[in-house]
Symmetry: C2
Subunit: 165 residues, 2 copies
């Protein structure tokens, strides 16, 4: 029998563990080269005075099993905030035990408690196991929307252009 | 010559104007049936004590021309917050004058001022004029990601399941 599963909000002392999860998730997504976060940045952004991001940590007994990073988004059509799940990750050796589902359910419960109208996240199109899992929970893919992003030099350039208008 | 264009943050007294913009945007997106927001909800969510959503209003002289609704998201890989543009809308009769671009540039400037690593939004796939416009500004479509959403009865059901685990 497995040690007991538990979920709790992350504390400032958990930043090294959170960074480790972020790196492992990036490796899984084949995006490890994109991780530039460090402990100082995460401490400020997750636990500083203006923090708006929340983290849940999952454990099997005392052993870290996974994490979820989320914040509130907003729907103008509903006039209500929602929960945006930025990252959900269960360590490969801890999979198949329902931990990912329990993290998702925990967040759905938080969404209900907080009066949220939506619970949303983004999935890589090749990640079929996750897609099947999300659909089994009643999540619907927004097939007709595409996310656009400006970052790095392109963002700096736009920011400079903003000074000219 | 046109009256002068200006952009300012919305105030609580602007809620009726914001709601009008939301409804006009929904009509343009052929989603008018989805708007349930009202003035009370918007006042609470945009200007209440726990508000986390911001609105910019654009004017031509004293005439409302468009709006942008945004909030901060977060990239775990960067360890930095970003700006998520939830809605951008310029009234059809005010288009072709560069107002949408100036709203976007204003937000890119805000992203730079606030130390954001990304500036992102979602676009309907049939909205080719907007897609071309965004690409011309250096925005990149995240073709391999799909947004998943749980809302309404499915979200309530998941929230109920959360109590059982």
């Amino acid at each position: 029998m497995n040690a007991e599963f538990s979920i709790r909000p992350a504390l400032a002392a958990d930043v090294p563990l959170i960074l480790d999860f972020i790196r492992r998730l990036a490796e899984y997504e084949k995006l490890a080269h994109m991780v530039v976060a460090d402990e100082a940045l995460l401490s400020e952004q997750l636990f500083g005075p203006r923090a708006h991001v929340e983290v849940l940590l999952a454990f099997e007994g005392d052993t870290p099993a996974g994490f979820a990073v989320f914040f509130h988004n907003f729907s103008t059509f509903l006039g209500r905030k929602g929960i945006w799940l930025e990252d959900l990750f269960v360590l490969p050796e801890m999979r198949g035990r329902g931990y990912g589902k329990r993290l998702l359910l925990k967040l759905a419960g938080l969404a209900a408690e907080r009066g949220c109208g939506r619970f949303e996240w983004a999935v890589l199109d090749w990640n079929q196991p996750s897609i099947d899992f999300y659909k089994s929970l009643g999540a619907v893919p927004l097939e007709d929307w595409t996310i656009f992003r400006v970052t790095g030099d392109a963002l700096r350039k736009l920011g400079e252009m903003a000074k000219q208008v």
